[in-house]
């Protein structure tokens, strides 16, 4: 049965559809103050510490990041420096290689010119020697042919009359040589 319908006041029921009764507010308010106080007293430091720790952690991370950034920046600088050094070294090596190549070329050219000069001199002397040999051989051949021709001419010209004349000339000369 409905209490309203009966018109009987129910003490468990508030008078307002929204607000509780006064004592309930009192009790509820006190309880809340106690709870909030307990929370502030007990949980507050924990939360505060937690937040402080978190802040410190975040700060640490930020510091670490900054350190990492600085390290990375330094390494980047080192790398750039190294790159610069490598470029410099490469240029130095290239210059050195060019210098050596130039020196080798100069040396090779000088040696080549020297060898060419030697070859020319040797070829000249060989040609001269060959010419001399040919000349000597030619002279020898001419002498041999001339001697053979002289033999034949003399043998043909030595008839009896000539033989007798040679004998008489010899006797005359020997006799006159005393």
């Amino acid at each position: 049965m409905n209490a309203f319908a009966l018109g009987v006041e129910d003490p468990t029921q508030t008078h307002h559809w929204l607000w509780p009764e006064g004592y309930e507010l009192l009790w509820a308010g006190g309880s809340q103050v106690i709870i909030i106080g307990l929370l502030v007293w007990k949980v507050g430091p924990m939360v505060k510490k937690s937040l402080s720790d978190r802040t410190a952690r975040v700060q640490g991370e930020l510091d670490s990041s900054a350190q990492s950034l600085a390290t990375a920046t330094g390494e980047a600088a080192d790398v750039r420096q190294a790159l610069g050094d490598i470029d410099e070294e490469r240029r130095r090596l290239m210059a050195e290689a060019d210098e050596q190549a130039t020196a080798v070329l100069e040396s090779g050219r000088a040696r080549l010119e020297e060898e060419v000069a030697e070859l020319e001199a040797k070829a000249g002397s060989d040609i001269e020697a060959a010419g001399g040999r040919v000349s000597d051989e030619l002279r020898g051949e001419i002498s041999r042919l001339a001697a053979a021709a002289a033999d034949r001419v003399v043998e043909r010209s030595l008839d009896d009359e000539t033989q007798q004349r040679l004998i008489e000339d010899y006797i005359q000369k020997v006799g006159a040589s005393a």
Binding site: I142, S143, A146, A147, A150, D151, V154, E155, L158, D160, T162, Q163, Q164, L166, I167, E168, D169, Y170, I171, Q172, K173, V174, G175, S177, A178
Partner: protein, 177 residues
Amino acid sequence: MSANEARIDGYARGLFEVAKAEGTLDEVEDELFRFARSYESSDELRNALSDDQIPPAKRQAIVEDLLGGKATPTTVQLISMVVGSGHGRDLPAIVDRMVERAASSKDLEVAEVRAAVELTSDQQDRLRAALANATGKNVDLKVVVDPAVLGGLVATIGDVVIDGTVRTHLDQLKSRL
């Protein structure tokens, strides 16, 4: 004097004495001289007469075949004796020594004359006189016909050589060439 020299000298003296005893010294001497020169100039003859593998009788038969009727019997016998005794190699030296001995016995100097052709008796007499005049010695002329001289004469008297051969003139010409 070595043993070989002594042997050559002994044979030369033997040949000389035999020829002298036979009374044919001049003829034998001349024939021996000519045979010795032929021996020197012929390899075939030299090999045949100095080959110890050929029996002595065979070597002597060769000599008799070559000289039979062309030389006096004394000459043939003397050469056969030398060849048969195995001294054919020494024959020219023996003969030369014998000729020297013969010339010396007549107070003459041997003059070996080489000519391309034979000399007439008149030429030999005049040459003998000319050589005697040139050297101051009486000479025993020994003429050798040697075609190698080509023409003219060359006379050798002891160590003296009088060369007028065409061969020598030709050789000098070749040397100059």
